[in-house]
């Protein structure tokens, strides 16, 4: 049975959606259109001279090996953040689901990091891992690890991944916990009576039933890794060393705001826009169909 509200008035529905439409147009479509327009222009910092250069900005980008490298960096970063974030929070959620005494305390503590701003998360982890004064650095040094992410690109990458995952775990955890709690206990009990062990029950019952949640989280986490990790990167590595942690969105900010290269930065935004549109389309058209509901 379908529920449907029918408006008798011809104009009322438009009036009701108008504020939302206005916000979307002013804050989303207009800037996006401007980015497309600027991506074809070569302009000085102050906007005193502007010249239509066609695809020159895009050609300049693809001639730059560091821009191509940034794609690779972004791919590694997002896969690592989304993958380890989802795996870890699933583990934590299954654990938390079993806890009987003090469950509330346990859950609350796990949800806490979500209240921390990305920039603060970045600063926290940067302090813990600071090359000369960090506590973790001290322990690592004692273990014989030469820890200095200021110069070591792989370590810098590891640091921003850890900080980003930590920040996102609570969110994933909440969804997984809700998902786990909605799995009928009778199913698990029936399987247990039939002789399936805990690991077998997990892989054949829990995982498939959680797949809608997992899929949703995959989309959210990839979008998070692409865009929302800006704060973490800006407060820790700022894309360095030698662009080892320069993900696409950080490069857009860097070239546009710090270097005042509006054309080049807009061209990157346009490319980013295309990537996100493509990614979303692929995810919903092909992957969603295979997910069991």
């Amino acid at each position: 049975m379908e529920k449907r509200v029918v408006f008798r008035s011809a104009w009322l529905p438009y009036v009701l959606v108008a504020p939302q439409l206005a916000i979307t147009i002013v804050f989303f479509f207009w800037p996006a259109a401007q980015a497309v327009w600027y991506s074809f222009q070569l302009q000085d910092a102050f906007g005193l001279q502007s010249e239509f250069v066609g695809l020159e900005n895009f050609k300049f980008l693809f001639r730059d090996p560091h821009y191509l490298q940034s794609f690779k960096t972004t791919a590694i970063f997002s896969v690592a953040v989304a993958g380890s974030g989802i795996a870890l929070s699933l583990l934590l959620a299954t654990m938390a689901d079993r806890v009987i005494r003090g469950a509330l305390v346990y859950k609350t503590i796990l949800i806490w990091p979500y209240a921390v701003a990305a920039a603060v998360a970045g600063v926290l982890w940067a302090f813990l891992f600071a090359p000369s004064i960090g506590i973790v650095t001290f322990v690592l040094k004692a273990m014989g690890v030469d820890w200095n992410w200021i110069i070591n690109g792989n370590q810098a990458m590891l640091l921003v991944i850890i900080a980003s995952v930590w920040k996102q775990i609570s969110y994933n955890f909440l969804f997984f916990l809700a998902g786990l709690q909605s799995i009928p206990k009778s199913l698990l009990e029936a399987a247990a009576i039939d002789g399936a062990g805990p690991s077998r029950r997990f892989w054949t019952i829990v995982v498939p039933l959680l797949s809608p949640t997992t899929f949703f989280l995959l989309v959210v986490n990839i979008v998070y890794a692409f865009f929302d990790t800006f704060g973490v990167i800006d407060t820790t590595t700022q894309g360095g060393p030698a662009q080892a942690t320069q993900i696409l969105v950080y490069k857009v900010y860097h070239d546009g705001v710090k270097s005042a290269d509006i054309g080049g930065s807009s061209a990157q935004s346009v490319i980013l826009m295309i990537i996100v549109i493509a990614l979303t389309a692929v995810q919903f058209r092909f992957i969603e169909r295979k997910v069991q509901y």
């Binding site: 000085d44 200021i150 110069i151 690109g153 005042a260």
Partner: protein, 436 residues
């Protein structure tokens, strides 16, 4: 009746509020001086405001150097820029190219009939902020240069004479002894490109780029892949490998590594003195930066860093008059001396340098005059006047990235410097195309 009263009250309030606004012209000054430096800037503005009633300077802290520059550019695009904005030295070329967005300081002073003599400044300062015809385009405010600091206690502990090494050969010899004596971090640096490429070139009288380091036109190319540059960067890479050089980062992260006693030798801004004085629990000294003694003409003179004040376009004549008056106030030797002695920045006029010397400040603070001495060691040449490269915020980053690749052992110095030139030139061409 009540309405009438209300109207009268409103009119009265309006009059009271309007009175000061009518007689005083407000001048907005955006700067990037945080902490103690910011307090000093406010103090100077308050003094100027108290001295006369016609103009009022409002100081507004706008964040770091790149942040306030970006903010000023955005404000110009939105047609509401501040009157004065403080811009760091690497932004100089970008500001200069923005004809119409800025008003040259020489013009501001001439129109306001305020006395202004570029020759009053140190030659390295004038050269940095003037066009080729000798017109000063911005007002020099806080200038520093790069210096070499040593931890005397660490030297003594390693059985060394507590005297700073003069040449890079000596630095390595000392570094090895310090390392052997158990010193964890031997040498570190702040601002790697500013120290090891920009000042290094001036100090050895070799060009950073063609066309007088870019001062002669936008069609300049970098020349930092010369054998001398490659040799120097290779030497640093080698030192890093042997544990004689610890890389600290691209900005002033090295300062803390030295003042905490972690590193025994350090190159950083003259402006780092204040922080070291406060934090260091050891004897230290400030010295000239080392040089390679087999290079003819070295040492020449070092170049400045820091920032200058730019006047933005599109304001009323009366407001420009106020800006000129404020600059005249800032130029006074006693104000300059106050700024120099309380912040550690270089005294940028000859008069203020003389005044500070006569006051006995340098006798009480040995080494405080080393930066000026290093800046004025010789008459600046075309290679040591300064530099002017478009989009140098990006250019410097490219250089630093390539240096980092060498320090991390990922690239050899020759490849890295060739790549730095290639990538740097792409940025210069883009700037040239955007600013015809």
């Amino acid at each position: 009746m009540r309405i009438k009263l209300l109207a009268a009250a409103l009119a009265g309030a309006g009059l009271v509020a309007a009175a000061p606004a009518q007689s005083q012209t407000e001048i907005n000054f955006w700067h990037s001086m945080g902490g103690a430096l910011g307090a000093k800037v406010n103090e100077l503005a308050d003094r100027f405001n108290a001295e006369q009633k016609e103009y009022k300077v409002n100081t507004i802290y706008k964040g770091s150097y790149p942040e306030s520059m970006t903010a000023a550019i955005a404000a110009y695009r939105a047609k509401n820029p501040p009157h004065i904005v403080q811009v760091f030295e690497v932004g100089t070329a970008t500001m200069m190219a923005a004809k119409g967005a800025i008003v040259p300081v020489a013009t501001v002073m001439r129109n306001a009939k305020e006395k202004f003599d570029p020759k009053a400044y140190l030659p390295t300062v004038t050269g940095y902020y003037s066009d080729l015809k000798g017109n000063m385009l911005s007002f020099p405010f806080n200038s520093s240069t790069v210096m070499f600091y040593i931890n005397k206690d660490a030297f003594k502990k390693a059985g060394l004479e507590p005297v700073a090494p003069k040449t890079w050969k000596e630095v390595i010899a000392v570094a090895e002894k310090l390392k052997a004596a158990g010193q964890q971090c031997v040498y570190t640096t702040s601002w790697p490109s500013w120290m090891h490429i920009e000042n290094f070139s001036a100090w050895h009288n070799v060009p950073i780029g063609t066309k007088q380091n870019g001062m002669g036109g936008f069609d300049t190319v970098f020349t930092i892949n010369s054998p001398l540059h490659v040799r120097h960067v290779a030497m640093l890479g080698d030192m890093a490998k042997k544990g004689l050089f610890t890389y600290a980062g691209r900005t002033n992260q090295g300062d803390a590594k030295f003042s905490s006693g972690e590193c025994a030798m350090f190159s950083g801004s003259a402006g780092a003195q204040a922080g070291i004085k406060k934090a260091a629990k050891f004897e230290w000294s400030i010295n000239f930066i080392p040089y390679h003694d087999d290079v003819k003409g070295a040492p020449q003179n070092s170049i400045i860093g820091g920032a200058s004040l730019w006047v933005m376009g599109g304001k009323k004549p009366a407001e420009y008059k106020g800006v000129a008056k404020f600059f005249s106030f800032l130029s006074r030797p006693e104000i300059q001396m106050d700024w120099h002695t309380s912040t550690g920045y270089v005294p940028i006029t000859q008069a203020s340098y003389e005044l500070t010397r006569k006051s006995g400040f340098y006798d009480q603070n040995p080494g405080a005059d080393m930066p000026v001495k290093q800046l004025t060691l010789h008459e600046p040449t075309a290679n040591s006047k300064g530099l002017r490269f478009g989009n140098f915020v990006q250019g410097r980053e490219v250089i630093e990235e390539e240096m980092e690749a060498v320090f991390a052992g990922k690239k050899d110095a020759k490849t890295a410097m060739n790549d730095a030139v290639k990538r740097g030139n792409e940025i210069l061409r883009r700037f040239q195309a955007a600013n015809k």
